[in-house]
């Protein structure tokens, strides 16, 4: 039985100094923002009320956290017990991802101190209402799914058993909330039929956001495993990652079908020949970031190579980032009120600082909690 694999290294390495610096910078920017308003640190304005933080930190952040619910569903619900070694890092990535989303929202919201008003003031017609509730509830589910690492570390047997007993309902709740949350981020933009470019607007946005989130879940697990195996110098579960990769082409194929079918159904296929910014983004997404990884992940040779797996997973992650930015920032806005918005450098500073905090937290958990522990078959299905 192998115990903890994470290596203990000297406490202060250059990487920690850089991460600490970036986190501090973001913290200072956030303080300025709280003192002097959003306008002091961002280029957000009345034409572009949602900028980098919503497109990247919220839309991409939530999508890239989907590995947690995908892996929990595979291991706990679909009988994929052999994938258990990938589960804990995936849950941690998802949990940290959601905490990072909340951090970004606390900077972006005009009145962050009132974020809990979502609990007491309800408007169930608002998609934002669903988004808010999903963030709250699913973060709670992720915290519970993550908690056994803490309980094991400190030998708290009773709470660990309680979570163990609840793990199936938690997995079901997690997958349900994730489906609602991933899709509702697309639904946010269904209220913009006139402001979103026709190539990118469709009432099926929630389905598309969900499908791409499902595809990027395994891709994120592949990326996170291959990177962490190098950083922490631990073994790589290449056979498991290859097995996981086999799912991705099916999801990507479904996404292409929905996307082309939707444009054909609304008679907008002709727009793809316009060769403007929006159709260019469409072709880049479909050919480079959907079709290419679909073919790559279908090849056994790719699935046996960690470098090729990493590259193909990177393409799927790029797809999510491109499509979220296209909907959230690029293909949006009415020409009459067009105003150029480019993120302020300090907006990037906040985003980078939050990512740094996530990376640092992952490193700390890997070092101090049983993250990569391999343990004898734990009776999940009983």
């Amino acid at each position: 039985m192998i115990g903890r694999i994470a290596l203990r290294r000297p406490p202060i390495s250059p990487a920690w100094v850089v991460l600490g610096g970036l986190i501090t910078l973001a913290f200072v920017v956030a303080m300025v923002r709280y003192a002097s308003g959003l306008g002091a640190v961002s280029n957000l304005n009345d034409n572009t009320g949602w900028g980098l933080w919503i497109s990247f930190d919220l839309l991409c952040g939530v999508a890239l956290a989907s590995g947690a619910f995908i892996m929990a569903s595979i291991v706990y619900l679909f009988g994929g017990e052999q994938y258990r070694p990938l589960l804990r890092p995936a849950i941690l990535t998802g949990f940290l991802g959601y905490l990072m989303v909340i951090l970004a929202l606390l900077v972006d919201l005009g009145r962050p101190e009132r974020i809990w008003y979502l609990i007491i003031f309800w408007n169930h017609h608002s998609v934002m209402f669903e988004v808010g509730w999903c963030v709250m509830l699913y973060t709670a589910v992720l915290a519970l799914e993550f908690s056994p690492l803490v309980f094991e570390r400190f030998g708290l047997e009773a709470p660990r058993r309680l979570i163990h007993a609840l793990i199936i309902p938690l997995a079901i709740a997690g997958a349900t909330l994730s489906t609602l949350h991933q899709s509702s981020l697309g639904s946010l933009y269904v209220i913009l039929p006139d402001q979103l470019h026709k190539i990118w607007f469709t009432p099926l946005l929630p389905l598309m956001f969900w499908l791409t989130a499902v595809a990027v879940g395994p891709a994120m697990v592949i990326l996170e495993s291959t990177i962490s195996s190098r950083v922490f110098r631990r073994g790589l579960e290449l056979d498991l990652l290859g097995g996981l990769a086999r799912v991705i082409p099916f999801v990507l194929a479904a996404y292409i079908a929905v996307k082309i079918g939707d444009l054909a159904g609304s008679g907008e296929l002709g727009l793809l020949k316009d060769w403007d910014l929006e159709s260019g983004l469409f072709w880049l997404e479909i050919m480079g970031f959907v079709f290419l990884p679909m073919v790559l992940f279908s090849l056994p040779a790719v699935r046996r190579s960690s470098a090729w797996l990493m590259f193909s997973a990177f393409l799927v992650v790029s797809e999510v980032i491109l499509s979220r930015f296209a909907v959230g920032l690029i293909a949006i806005g009415r020409p009459e009120f067009a105003a150029s918005y480019a993120p302020h450098p300090l907006e990037f500073a906040v985003t980078i600082g939050i990512i740094s905090a996530g990376v640092a937290a992952f490193g700390l958990v890997a070092r101090y909690l049983p993250l990569f522990t391999e343990y004898a078959a734990s009776p999940a299905g009983e």
Partner: protein, 274 residues
Amino acid sequence: MAKAILFDAFRCTGCRGCQVACKQWNDLPAEVTHNTGSYQNPPRVSADTWLVMQYREVENDDGELRWAFGRHACMHCLHPACVSACPVGALYKTDDGPVLYHNDRCIGCRYCMLACPFEIPTFQWGKGLFEGPQIKKCTFCIDRLSAGMEPACVHTCPSGALMFGERDELLKVAWARIREHPDRYVNHVYGEHEAGGTSLLYISPVPFEELGLPKLGSAPIQEDAEDIMTKATPAVLVGMLVGLGGIYWVVKRRQEMMSKDGGSGRSGDREASS
């Protein structure tokens, strides 16, 4: 009954009295602006300017330029997208017509700004945590209305381009003017049906897009989004819970049967890891 304002672009002289009256009545501070090459100033509505007259130069049939004046301020929609979008109900529609804002509830998510097809709600970008930034927009002069007065912009208009009254009455007035002078007006009352109808009605000598108004269908723009919230979401919620529970149950049964048959246990039927 629902109140409304009729704006007659033919009668408007572009004096901007309404824009100033709005600032005056609502005690809004001046804005620092810069020359954009247009009479229009400031360029759009903001937290400190709730009504901006649009100055458009339009070519007429003889190829000559003529002025067209538009009015950019809250349309007080009959089915407001901002109200539908607000997660905490900080925006609400009153029976009298005005769409109003409840600062005590607002969390500052700014989804209303995104949702509004007229790009009306604005945000106080310069206010920090302690000043508490708010969403700002035209209130239909609700304080004047409740005292039995007409909105400040209407009250001040010297040329009769603005008219305040019951919405059905104003619709009749608008159509009567169009019928009386079909040569003067485009044969359409903007706001009668746009986005499900608005409390601001426009008649104009030039196409409404020239006045800065978006081309909208007659359905409220939030219809699809509300269908997703009230129909699709509950169905997905129940479907996922039942479906995932069912899959778990079936998978578990199959694994139990396999292990009873003497199978090697829990590696399942997927590609076994070793």
